[in-house]
């Protein structure tokens, strides 16, 4: 008994570590077009398997295939490509600006551009996202001015947030983009609350909650699922599984469940997995989930399977914890290249126009950057005032804070 009963401690480990050869052979990738598209009012119990598959539209030949294909026009696809390219270009410039000391911090989307860009196009005006720091595509794809984003990143005198927030923690009610919190997962239940409020108000607007794979371990993720399930809140519960949470591989948050979509099964919530590097698949699944919400069918959980190609943030160096070439081995490819190939396959795009578009976009980004920098960068030029620091704590500044402001001489 003693020996047979000896317990052992189990700590999950990624397949490889630096020095090893990247290996994704454990990731099963269903063929594009192979996962059926149920009706939106499907009984969730009948589609549990979808939490363990991956909905894909674009195949290796660049064709859009299967029941989730066919929702977007060529113009819409070209626009989507432009959004993703813009986001990538924006990221590259801002990452460089951070390296140049123009701001303190930056976070990129490299490899994950399709998720937020495609999702935004499935929403209606008035809908509200509760994003994490890795969904700036929601703003780009909604036409939020890049200059405003950069002003925020630079904490300059034109920063809409008055220098109060860490770079990239944007906020735009107008663009359906809830103020980003530095605290992980808190916004997930808030999204459900917003959706409940919309239902209470007999409105037609729906909410979208966003979270990363690692952050699903946080307790607010549970609160969100409980409330969404109980009150059938009109909300789409998005989980962006980019395989990593800083240095921690997704197995630590996921445990024995196989997928993150599986979490929804315990709540009777329809739970889908989708190829997060496939613009068309992301958009189609988003549409489906959003329609469910809008039609009073309640929440849907969507796991986007993607890969964080860059560092976690400008403070991070992934070579310490994963093989350098791991992103090249990622079996779902690059979202921009895949959509580009699809458009070329459709003969509405060419390599040459792509290169040209890249240059144009870069120019636009650089122009925006110039304009933003004319308002200052973190350590140079115009900056928000000390007075701005004391304001907005409350609607009306209370006496003690007025006294402190006076002490500060402003």
């Amino acid at each position: 008994m003693a020996d047979a009963g000896m317990l052992r401690f189990h700590v999950p480990e990624p397949e490889v570590r630096p020095g090893g050869t990247p290996d994704f052979s454990n990731v099963t990738i269903p063929k594009a077009g192979s996962v059926p598209r149920p009706e939106v009012n499907v009984d969730p119990r009948t589609i549990r398997d979808m939490a363990f598959s991956i909905i894909r539209v674009l195949n290796r030949a660049g064709e859009a295939v299967g029941p989730w294909a066919g929702l977007l026009t060529d113009e819409e696809l070209l626009e989507g490509l432009r959004h993703m390219m813009t986001l990538r270009s924006f990221d590259a410039r801002m990452q460089m600006a951070q390296r140049q000391g123009k701001t303190s911090f930056y976070m990129q989307h490299l490899g994950e551009e399709a998720v937020s860009c495609a999702f935004r196009k499935a929403l209606q005006p008035g809908d509200m996202n509760f994003p994490t720091y890795r969904q700036a595509g929601l703003l780009i794809a909604d036409g939020y001015p890049m200059v405003a984003m950069m002003n925020q990143i630079y904490s300059n005198e034109a920063d809409p947030l008055k220098g109060r927030q860490l770079p990239i923690m944007y906020s735009s009610k107008e663009h359906g983009f809830f103020s980003i919190s530095g605290n992980l997962a808190t916004q997930y239940i808030q999204a459900v609350g917003w959706a409940m409020a919309s239902a209470i108000s007999n409105d037609s607007r729906i909410a979208a909650a966003w979270i990363g794979d690692g952050s699903t371990a946080e307790s607010d993720f549970h609160a969100a699922l409980v409330f969404a399930s109980t009150y059938k809140a009109p909300v789409v519960l998005n989980v962006v599984n980019n395989q990593w949470a800083i240095s921690t591989f997704q197995g630590i948050a996921r445990g024995g469940s196989g997928t993150f979509a599986a979490r929804g099964l315990g709540f009777g919530i329809p739970s889908l997995r989708v190829d997060g590097n496939d613009y068309l698949a992301v958009h189609a699944v988003a549409k489906w989930a959003i329609e469910r919400a809008r039609r009073n069918l309640g929440p849907t959980l969507v796991e986007y399977v993607t890969y964080r190609v860059g560092a976690h943030s400008s403070s991070d160096d992934p070579s310490a914890y994963r093989p350098k070439a791991e992103s090249d081995a990622w079996p779902l490819g690059d979202p921009i290249i895949r959509l580009k190939n699809h458009l070329i396959h459709k003969q509405v795009w060419t390599e040459q126009r792509h290169i040209q578009a890249e240059a144009e976009i870069l120019e636009t980004v650089i122009a925006a950057q110039k304009e933003a920098e004319s308002h200052g960068t973190l350590h140079a030029g115009g900056k928000p005032s000390t007075r701005d620091m004391f304001e907005g704590v409350y609607a009306e500044t209370p006496p003690h804070l007025r006294r402190q402001r006076q002490q500060a001489g402003v």
Binding site: L161, F178, T186, V192, D220, A224
Partner: protein, 337 residues
């Protein structure tokens, strides 16, 4: 004027607010059909429907987190945490989110929520039904913290809290729900129906957040108190015969510092009382402020009487509770100092 218990006054405040403003939504554990374990929301579901008053899952973080989302949408949720002792699972949502949303978004999103919760001991509730966590909120920029001491104030302050554009923590001293308890636990409590502060006008009125009330004029020493301790202080003054000026703070943040300073400058002495544990309690802030602002008027150190620095015990409730004897001793010592 009608007399109401504190429970009725609080219920009336929500009733009036819900009737006036469709955006006011009330929920919490056992709050809907049943009307709350202290019955503060009784009848509201029947009157306003399940859309506006409903039961929540046992998840304080979910309750406050969803309320923040509702407030961002444009509603005005007034939620209940069943006991202040159970607010900690919601602490992150309150501190990291509700308190900072306006600031971090530069007014793009705001958070007009009220989080109500019964506070304080004296009901043999042991360490998980007795706590007074106010100092954990007063340290957080962006929050307002209110502690009413009577039905009249409770109603006016709660309506003001619901109408306030920012998050308000509303602590209800549960030992006062039925009458002005003064710490003499062996005596029956006078019901609110026999107390003038049990007079609660019908309809809408507010008491501004940030204004204290002088409950007893006096010249010898200023007592700073709130909630239950207002009555304990009154008993202590009566029993020692010391002519104390008793200030009921009502709102801890924003604080009515002017009223405090004016009184201490007059009396030259100050005793601070609260039921929460002493160390880093709100009394520390009060003592610090009083000596900062009235140093040259003080004839004795500012004394603090508070709960001991232990968890709230069950059997030794009355040894723990800072009753009239302990407050009286501090008054005497401060006068003799």
């Amino acid at each position: 004027m009608p007399r109401r218990t504190m429970i009725e006054a609080i219920r009336d405040a929500m009733d009036v607010s819900m009737a006036r403003d469709e955006r006011v939504i009330v929920y919490g554990e056992d709050v809907g059909f049943f009307g709350g374990v202290f019955r503060c929301t009784q009848g509201l579901q029947a009157k306003y429907g399940k859309n506006r008053c409903f039961d929540a899952p046992i998840s304080e973080s979910g309750i406050v987190g969803s309320a923040i989302g509702m407030a961002a949408y444009g509603l005005r949720p007034c939620v209940e945490v069943q006991f202040a002792d159970y607010v900690y699972p919601a602490y992150d949502q309150i501190v990291s989110e509700a308190a900072r949303l306006r600031y971090r978004s530069n007014n793009d999103f705001t958070c007009p929520i009220v989080v109500r919760m019964p506070t304080g001991g004296g009901i043999f509730g042991g360490q998980t039904h007795s706590q007074s966590p106010e100092a954990l909120f007063t340290h957080v920029s962006g929050l307002k913290t209110v502690v009413p001491s009577n039905p009249h104030d409770a109603k006016g302050l709660l309506i003001a809290a619901i109408e306030d554009p920012d998050p308000v923590i509303f602590l209800e001293p549960k030992r006062l729900y039925n009458g002005p308890f003064d710490g003499h636990h062996d005596n029956p409590v006078t019901p609110w129906s026999k107390h003038e502060l049990g007079e609660v006008a019908d309809g809408h009125y507010t008491i501004p957040l940030g204004k204290a009330a002088i409950r007893r004029q006096g010249s010898a020493v200023t007592v700073l108190a709130y909630g239950t301790m207002v009555y304990v202080a009154q008993a202590a003054a009566a029993e020692t015969g010391i002519d104390a000026e008793i200030i009921d703070l009502r709102t801890l943040l924003p604080l009515d510092l002017d009223a405090i300073v004016a009184s201490v400058k007059k009396t030259g002495r100050c005793v601070v009382v609260h039921e929460a544990t002493l160390t880093s309690g709100f009394g520390a802030e009060l003592a610090a402020l009083v000596q900062e602002n009235c140093f040259y008027h003080l004839e004795a150190p500012v004394a603090r009487v508070a709960g001991w620095d232990t968890p709230y015990p069950h059997a030794q409730e009355w040894e723990y509770f800072p009753g009239p004897a302990r407050v009286g001793r501090a008054l005497v010592e401060t006068m003799e100092a």
